[in-house]
């Protein structure tokens, strides 16, 4: 809640020490998550943005700011490749962002040598209240959301989807997954379709999801 992001490292004595304090956000930071295979960090904030950080010349710096959400961003998740990021917000939408390198074929402009992140899809009209968490399954590509309307939803990318303009369809919707706000959802990294969720009602639930035939 102090608006900062801290990066920690394990030292020779196997203790964690703080190596950087980043004060890029202008409001509370709600969530941080690491890129699946690179030293890249993402954060979500009450200031309506997602920020990305990497190490440059021995110092951690903010290398990108993703703007577009109209209210607090509560969580972010990378897909398996790390080329895409999903963010969820108090504005009741999920946004999908894609990384574009300088000199990309799609003509997305970049500043200098840094990649740029562009919002390529917005999922709106599905959630009736704040979306507190989003989880992107690294086994199947399914996207799960945790919502303040007590529901859990799963979205699947259409197979004929254009990677630069992807379309996602609502594949599953459990309206009363919990009796209060769902705060968190997490896909199991080893077992496809196994999802965990937790809620203000004090419960943790386990779910088995199967992709429907028509999607």
């Amino acid at each position: 809640r102090d608006k900062s992001v801290w990066v920690w490292e394990v030292d020779e004595e196997e203790e964690y020490e703080c190596v950087s304090v980043l004060n890029s956000h202008t409001q509370d930071v709600k969530h941080v998550v690491w890129h699946p295979n690179q030293e890249l960090l993402a954060s979500a904030s009450y200031d309506d943005t997602v920020k990305l950080y990497q190490e440059e010349e021995d110092d951690w710096v903010c290398c990108a700011t993703l703007e577009g959400h109209e209210s607090t961003v509560w969580s972010v998740a990378f897909d398996r490749s790390g080329e895409r990021l999903a963010s969820c917000s108090d504005d009741k939408t999920v946004r999908i962002w894609r990384r574009y390198e300088p000199g990309n074929e799609e003509g997305v402009s970049c500043i200098g040598n840094d990649p740029t992140w562009k919002c390529v899809c917005t999922l709106s009209g599905y959630h009736s209240r704040t979306i507190y968490d989003v989880s992107w399954c690294h086994l199947t590509g399914a996207l799960a959301t945790a919502c303040g309307d007590d529901a859990i939803r799963v979205f699947e990318e259409s197979t004929s989807s254009n990677p630069h303009q992807p379309t996602f369809a609502l594949a599953a919707h459990v309206p009363r997954a919990h009796s209060q706000d769902v705060n968190c959802v997490a896909w199991n990294p080893k077992e496809p379709g196994l999802l965990a969720s937790c809620s203000d009602d004090g419960e943790i639930a386990f779910w088995k999801y199967q992709r429907p035939e028509i999607c």
Binding site: D28, S71, D90, T130, Q180, D181, D201
Partner: protein
């Protein structure tokens, strides 16, 4: 200018029947919030017309409550505190299934977006109530007038 307090709620025959459930309605929510004290003046929110029954919208079946409150002046610095008091009163009084929306009557405050956003953020509300001084002020607003 002090607004007149509404009278007692008339009890209907249906409500007297112990067998039939009474759903939570606008009047019941209004009854919960009307006597909240203004932090600065020795008057209730009803007497200052900060809350009105017509600005309370309840849907018991869907477990939603929306309360609009009107700060006395557009730059009222107590707006967040008043909103927080209303929210806390409802949190303490209603079943946990209810989704509570407390916001400023549109067009009546200079910082309504910022205030509404704070009131809608459950982490911010929880953090505010961990501040013992602020909690004390809220409790004073919620205490019965002596």
């Amino acid at each position: 200018l002090i607004y007149r307090r509404s009278g007692e709620r008339p009890v209907t025959a249906r409500e007297e029947d112990e067998e039939l459930p009474d759903s939570i309605d606008d009047r019941e929510i209004f009854d919960l919030i009307r006597s909240i004290n203004d932090p600065e003046h020795p008057l209730t929110l009803e007497e200052l017309n900060v809350v009105e029954q017509v600005r309370v919208k309840v849907n018991d079946a869907e477990s939603t409550v929306a309360v609009e409150f009107t700060p006395t002046i557009p730059h009222c610095s107590m707006a967040t505190l008043i909103g927080l008091s209303i929210k806390v009163k409802l949190i303490r009084s209603l079943p946990e299934r209810f989704k509570l929306d407390v916001h400023i009557t549109p067009g009546t405050h200079a910082s309504e977006h910022a205030v509404n956003k704070q009131l809608a953020d459950k982490e911010r509300v929880a953090a505010a109530l961990e501040n013992s001084h602020l909690l004390e002020v809220v409790n004073q607003c919620l205490s019965a007038r002596s």
